[in-house]
Amino acid sequence: MKDTRFSKVLLFINSLVPLALLLWDAYHGRLGANPAEFATRTTGMLTLIFITLTLAVTPVRKLTGWNFLGKFRRMIGLYAFFYGFLHLMTYIWFDRSFKIQTVPGDIVQRPFIAIGMTSFFLMIPLAITSTNKMIKRLGGKRWNRLHKLVYLTGIGGVLHYYMLVKSDTRLPIAFAFILALLLGYRIYAANQTPKVPARSPVPRQ
């Protein structure tokens, strides 16, 4: 993977493909009987997929030795934030009709909304500190510690999904299983080599 720059372009464009198709289908009236629900569900699913992918980068990189994967982690994480933002917007638009004052009441009524929203807000500091400049300013150690928040986002996101389904819990449980593997790996790795200094957020070549 010498051509990192082009690989990033590939990843960037591919990550936009679901959004492009969603908008294309919406424009042609092909989102089904309940387009608002479909858009909400799809953006939510994409958020979870990107969170899972960003959490998979480090374990896969370490297990396979494919260190180049680390270079894509930031973009995948930012896409998780981006789709999470779109997901929140579908709620504000279709569910709340932009009446923001009704959101607090709704949060009290529906705990899964509160958990989903918290999970999204936890991503904001991560998105803000995703630039090289911010990594430098914070220092690798502190940056790493801050970005462990994504574990909470992952757990909250899956919980949010699990709590809203009526009875068919197979998909949320599948997400929970994958998440448990990815987080479990980290606990396992930490116990294997207890005295390794904090990793630099930019992986070594």
Partner: protein, 324 residues
């Protein structure tokens, strides 16, 4: 392997810069097209199947009840396409947009409904007998799902009371229990454990005798498509949609309140009565408003789904918060 030193490579063998760049651009373009196509196909494969729009058979001798009867609403009807491609019918799929495609091969001939229990004249009815039991009426009802969406559906059917009168409930009969077909070969999702099969529902006898409660055999003037509960289903428009049990094979009159599927699944979330009530929220979401299919925003939910004038008297003296 012979490794040539730079000086040994003839200048004629060196790919000139332009060709090299062209080749590289070509490879990049190919990679871009191939990966985006693959991502697109992956996204598409996770999308629900395309809508099915197969018309049923026209129902002959369709009767329009007089508007004064107050049975039908004049609100805009939900399209046939939406009614037949957005279904909660877990026997086929838990994906509302996937039920239509997965239920198309469902065979409903022959079909029998056993009416039994505390009745003087129990009988196993052939579907044709049920269709001739009373005039087939068009009833345009609001339909409110417990999930917070609603439709306006032109059903075709006949009052459940007509059937119950024929079998003559005994004085001990107080409830009516309904049961959906259980046949995992024909209803493949019954192989999963997402619900306790077969699907069962129930009404109090006076609810079942109410003229708004019908057994539906069609919609939009045609026989019911499989995804909407073919060949015969209950429709109780003042209750959440899951009370209106589909593909019914058994109706039993009983003394005690019968078990109902969603109540078994989550007793604190789905009560036996499950009357549409904007003032009693589902523990996990509000029931104060709903999204009418075809509209983007939400509209207020009406008490008893707008049928309060006709049915509220059934519940006088009852605490609807307790009996939700």
């Amino acid at each position: 392997m012979v490794i040539k030193k730079a000086s040994e490579i003839k200048s004629s063998e060196i790919t000139d810069k332009e060709t090299y760049l062209n080749r590289r651009n070509f490879m990049r373009g190919a990679a871009l097209v191939a990966t985006t196509a693959a991502t697109g196909l992956l996204y598409r494969s996770l999308n629900p199947p395309p809508p099915v729009t197969r018309p049923g058979e026209k129902i002959a001798n369709l009767v329009q009840p007089p508007p004064a009867a107050g049975f039908s609403t004049n609100e805009a009807k939900t399209s046939f396409k939406d009614i037949t491609n957005y279904n909660n019918f877990y026997e086929f799929s838990t994906d509302k947009q996937g039920v239509a495609a997965r239920s198309q091969g469902f065979v409903t001939k022959p079909w029998q409904v056993s009416v039994e229990g505390l009745v003087n004249k129990p009988k196993v009815y052939e579907l044709d007998e049920l269709l001739k039991l009373a005039p087939q009426e068009e009833r345009i009802y609001r339909h409110r799902c417990v999930e917070g969406w609603s439709m306006v559906i032109p059903w075709v059917g006949f009052p459940l009371a007509e059937l119950l009168k024929q079998v003559e409930p005994t004085s001990r009969a107080r409830f009516v229990a309904f049961e959906t077909l259980y046949d995992p070969k024909r209803m493949p999702n019954q192989r999963t454990g997402v619900l306790d099969w077969p699907y069962v529902e129930g009404l109090r006898l006076d609810e079942a005798m109410h003229p708004l409660a019908i057994l539906a055999t069609g919609l939009y003037g045609e026989t019911l498509p499989p995804q909407d509960g073919a060949p015969i289903r209950l429709v109780v428009p003042w209750k959440y949609g899951f009370k209106s049990i589909k593909s019914v094979v058994k109706i039993k009159l009983v003394e005690q309140q019968p078990p109902t599927t969603w109540n078994i699944q989550a007793p604190d979330e789905y009560g036996f009565y499950s009357n549409v009530n904007p003032n009693v929220n589902h523990p996990r979401w509000s029931q104060a408003d709903e999204r009418r299919i075809g509209e983007l925003g939400r509209r207020p939910t009406l008490m008893f789904n707008g049928y309060a004038d006709q049915v509220a008297s059934l519940y006088t003296g009852m605490d609807l918060r307790v009996n939700f």
